[in-house]
């Protein structure tokens, strides 16, 4: 077990370097520069900029310098936002995305698990069909549609909630609901399927045969096995939450990392893009590891090589 964790932790470093190199290559292949504009610059000024940012050096040198920075965990300064270091930007904006993302995922877990368990226990009931149809709807409506519709109803018609921007709790309500919808729908479906499968498995049958009361069977044994798919979903979900927050950040003008990432790519702000990519890759690899470890506790049948 410890060997497994160590091996997985060790591989994170070369993988992060790989991801960063890949991204760097993509950015370098692209035409255009962080300083290119609609109005073309006089050549002399372009030279000044190149000199300032070391773009006049040979490409392999630039790559090595970049790699050296990454290994030291220092991505340098943003090219677009002068005087701000990449690390500073990441740690300043991560909390915004994380707040929205974590709250949304918690909300999704709450609704998804509840709906999924009840639907599984009352299979083929009206609740089952109703909640699964709702879940299907949640999976079929993009959140860039859901968000603005919520804004129109709650902000522009009812004047109850602010339509955008960071601020108080009331500013968080709409973005969190918007972001959680698709995850709640997915978790509900996964939970239902997982529960149905577990409830007919041998060990549940054994538990029942032992004479345990239904509640214990369900919560102690059924749920533990039944939510394995939800747990394994959480790894990729966290990766995708980032993409999800991009939309929510745009619609609700939240100063989160997702939107900054997109902007950095469009601006060709190389250090910032690389920094965010490296940071999030490592974060997500660690999450995946935690998820894998937690399988062992949830389902005794899973063993690590």
């Amino acid at each position: 077990m410890i060997g497994f964790i160590l091996r997985r932790l060790l591989i994170i470093i070369p993988m992060a370097l790989l991801v960063v190199s890949l991204t760097w290559g993509l950015i370098r292949l692209a035409p255009g520069n962080f300083y290119s504009d609609e109005r073309s610059l006089p050549p002399a000024i372009e030279e000044n900029i190149k000199r300032k940012y070391g773009l006049d050096k040979p490409v392999y040198q630039q790559y090595l310098i970049m790699l050296g920075n990454v290994v030291r965990g220092d991505f340098g300064d943003s090219l677009k936002y002068q005087g701000q270091s990449v690390n500073e930007i990441i740690f300043r904006h991560l909390p915004y995305s994380a707040t929205v993302g974590v709250l949304a995922y918690l909300l999704a877990l709450f609704f998804g698990l509840t709906a999924g368990i009840i639907a599984a226990l009352r299979q083929n009931s009206a609740f089952d069909y109703g909640s699964m149809a709702t879940a299907m709807l949640g999976l079929s409506v993009p959140n860039f549609v859901l968000g603005p519709i919520l804004v129109i109803v709650f902000s522009l018609w009812l004047f109850w909630l602010p339509p955008a921007r960071w601020g108080g709790i009331s500013n968080l309500i709409l973005p969190v609901i918007t972001l959680s919808a698709i995850y709640a729908a997915y978790i509900a479906r996964l939970t239902r399927a997982g529960m149905l499968e577990v409830m007919r498995s041998d060990y549940i049958r054994t538990a029942r045969a032992k004479g345990l009361d239904e509640k214990t069977v369900l919560l102690k044994h059924g749920l533990r096995g039944g939510i394995v798919p939800v747990v394994s979903f959480t790894g990729p979900a966290l990766a995708n939450l980032l993409a999800g927050t991009v939309v929510v950040e745009k619609v609700f003008a939240i100063p989160g990392l997702g939107n900054i990432f997109i902007q950095s790519v469009l601006n060709r702000d190389e250090p910032l893009t690389l920094g965010i990519v490296a940071f999030l890759s490592i974060l997500i690899m660690i999450f995946n590891l935690v998820v894998d470890i937690s399988y062992g506790f949830l389902d005794p049948r899973i063993r690590y090589e």
């Binding site: 002399a44 000199r51 909390p95 707040t99 109850w160 108080g168 709790i169």
Partner: protein, 696 residues
């Protein structure tokens, strides 16, 4: 109902704090206004300015969003008139222009202070200018200052050349002929002149690139230069060689290398605003951090939360603090149009920057006459004509095409533009237009035409068909329409860069040519960079889409496009006589005569029609009626000290279509106070009075 406006929450606390739910109360949309309309009680303007500022260092960013923000934080020698964007005094109280528009001497105010209380002196401007042009800073905007003597040379790292005798080589040594009285270079007789003054007012020195590789390349190309430079000593152009000088603590002098009468209009640009030397030298690149920054404008930085808000507050140290009425401004960096309109509608923001109402919304939003600002901008749209290829090398054909489009219909269809028949945008340079009418009338009389006839060029299909026939392409009636069988449609196309809007405009124009001339041109689209190249290299046949935004409030910003044999007009059109008129205009100290020269130049271009002007852009933004002093000026750059929030609904702005004809006593009063020290500006304001502008 819970609507929280104040009480910003740190993201970490947001997870914890659950109690602050009830605060304030959501209001209901007020009658006649767009959404919730109530003047904020805290006297802080909430303004959406576009994207997140690249930097709070005025020398660095190039975008409009930053320009607006930095105008609140820094002051310059001159400031934009909030109504017209013409220069009015800033830290410079008055100025004198000499040596054929190459010398500007500014008298500075003695009470100007930085936000930390330090006085602002001429030396600070010298430092600010030198720093902004430092090649190490690599400012993109540096080209704006290249009119200053040796600025381009310093900024692009060039070196003077000193021969063995210790004499610096001059440009005239290279050009052969002895420099004949170039502007402002007559030897000064005054023996008391400082060494620097002798040097800077002396003839232009020769420079070569300091970098060996580019120098060798330059020398290879020019054998004469090579022979001159060989064996000579190279002396790099230093910051101290720039044409800026602190004559005394409160006198600042700028020496230009070429006449630029529009310099005063260029100086309010953020690039030229004054920064605090001590702070920059102490903190290096961190100097713009909220804890370090020292500013010079009417407001100082209070907080900066990137991607969320920049909040500035009134600076009591500001020299004109008495007039500043806002306690602060919250700038929101936001680009999603729908989101910003939602914020506006719910009353969370008071004003938005330009071009923000999506075309589809204009009809429903423009009903809010007290709030919707749609006024002409210093930006035009036109088609270039490749005059090097037939049949477009015939001026009659070009004129026919220019006449064949109904510009009023086009404006109705575009919604946020107005018709344009000349090359400088309509309605922005009233003094120039006045003089231009006279010049045009005179010139037209010479060729047997009249001003009325000229103005009818907005749309004249009759004349267009006649011109085509004269050019050998007769247009004949064909049922209800027209046909022009001789016209070589395969040699003329409309080229535009791929974009939905450009496409619908091109289709509109295509339809007009078909309806009025019986000519159906092919449309061709290219992606942006290919398009730019095709147009610049004149590889297109016929017409190409184009737009131009003025750098400063002067028609020259447009007319310079046709200046020189390798000009930026992308038409292939060039004319020495035109270049001479522009040169003369630039050297002309009298503004009236200068405009006359420019009008003659513009007339010359329009006679030859290398471009087909279509439309002047309009501002297209929303602003709550209680925000006053925020005019839809030609660049949407607001001098914030003129902006205030009016609590009394009776005094709110009504019907902003006419905003430039309504007098705001407070704003006009302060403008008149500020310009009183500079006679030329008083004269300009008198002109507005006689013209009955601004509610006079």
């Amino acid at each position: 109902m819970f609507l929280i406006r104040s009480g910003k929450l740190h993201p970490v606390y947001a997870l914890v704090v659950l109690s602050s739910l009830l605060a304030g109360c959501g209001g209901v949309a007020s009658e006649g206004f767009y959404g919730k309309t109530a003047a904020p009680g805290d006297n802080v303007l909430r303004y959406i300015t576009g994207s997140e500022p690249e930097s709070l260092d005025p020398a660095v960013p190039t975008g409009q969003p930053e320009a607006r923000l930095l105008m609140s934080l820094y002051d310059g020698l001159t400031e934009y008139d909030p109504r017209t964007m013409q220069p009015i005094p800033g830290i410079a109280e008055s100025w004198e222009v000499g040596q054929e528009n190459t010398e500007y001497v500014f008298k500075l105010r003695k009470n100007a202070k930085f936000s930390n209380g330090d006085p602002i002196k001429a030396q600070d401007f010298v430092y600010s200018f030198r720093r902004a042009l430092d090649p190490e800073l690599a400012a993109k905007n540096a080209y704006l200052a290249h009119y200053i003597k040796y600025a381009e040379e310093y900024n692009s790292m060039r070196s003077f050349v000193r021969d063995k005798s210790g004499r610096f080589l001059l440009e005239s040594d290279l050009n052969g002929e002895k420099q004949e009285a170039a502007p402002g270079t007559q030897p000064q007789a005054d023996a008391n002149l400082s060494e620097f003054r002798k040097f800077i007012d002396g003839p232009m020195r020769l420079t070569v690139p300091s970098d060996e590789k580019s120098r060798n390349a330059a020398l290879e190309k020019n054998p004469k230069l090579k022979s001159l430079v060989e064996g000579a000593e190279l002396v790099p152009v230093k910051a101290e060689d720039l044409g800026v000088e602190a004559v005394d603590d409160y006198t600042f002098r700028i020496k230009l290398k070429q006449p630029a009468p529009f310099l005063l209009g260029l100086l309010p640009h953020q690039f030229f605003r004054v920064v605090h030397r001590g702070t920059i030298e102490k903190h290096g690149k961190d100097w713009t951090k909220p804890e370090n920054i020292v500013t010079s404008g009417p407001f100082k930085l209070k907080e900066h939360h990137p991607y969320d808000r920049v909040v500035v507050e009134k600076d009591p140290n500001y020299w004109d603090a008495e007039m500043v009425r806002l306690d602060g401004i919250a700038f929101y960096p936001l680009e999603e149009q729908t989101t910003m309109l939602n914020l506006y509608k719910t009353g969370e923001v008071d004003a938005i920057y330009n071009h923000t109402v999506p075309a589809a919304w204009v009809d429903s939003v423009s009903k809010f006459k007290d709030e919707y600002m749609n006024h002409p901008e210093v930006a035009i749209e036109y088609y270039t004509v490749n005059v090097t290829k037939p049949p477009m090398n015939d001026v009659r054909v070009r004129k026919a095409f220019a006449l064949a489009v109904d510009r009023d219909a086009m404006a109705a269809f575009r919604k946020t533009t107005q018709p344009l028949i000349d090359f400088t945008p309509e309605g922005l340079f009233p003094e120039y237009e006045q003089i231009r009418s006279e010049v045009y009338a005179r010139e037209l009389k010479k060729i047997g035409s009249s001003l009325d006839e000229w103005k009818a060029r907005k749309f004249d299909p009759e004349k267009a068909r006649k011109l085509l026939a004269e050019a050998g392409f007769p247009v004949t009636q064909n049922g209800s329409g027209w046909s022009c069988p001789n016209f070589p449609v395969d040699q003329v196309e409309i080229l535009y860069n791929t974009n939905d809007n450009n496409k619908s405009i091109a289709e509109f124009i295509q339809a007009q040519f078909k309806q009025n001339l019986g000519i159906t041109l092919q449309l061709k689209n290219q992606e942006w960079k290919t398009f730019l190249n095709t147009r610049k290299q004149l590889e297109y046949s016929g017409l190409g889409r184009a737009g131009w935004i003025g750098d400063y409030m002067d028609p020259m910003s447009f007319l310079k496009l046709f200046y020189g044999p390798n000009n930026d007009s992308s038409t292939g059109w060039t004319k020495p006589a035109y270049d001479k008129l522009i040169d003369d205009a630039n050297r002309e100290p009298d503004p009236k005569k200068r405009f006359e020269k420019m009008a003659e130049a513009e007339f010359m271009v329009m006679q030859e029609q290398p471009v087909l002007p279509w439309q002047t852009q309009k501002t297209n933004f929303l602003r709550k009626p209680y925000v006053k002093g925020l005019y839809p000026n030609p660049g949407t750059l607001h001098a914030w000290k003129f902006v205030y929030i009016e609590q009394d609904p009776a005094k709110w702005d009504r019907d902003v279509e006419t905003i430039f004809n309504v007098k705001d006593e407070w704003v006009t009063g302060h403008i008149n106070r500020l310009i009183a020290t500079q006679a030329s500006l008083v004269e300009r304001e008198e002109g507005y009075k006689t013209a009955g502008k601004f509610g006079y």
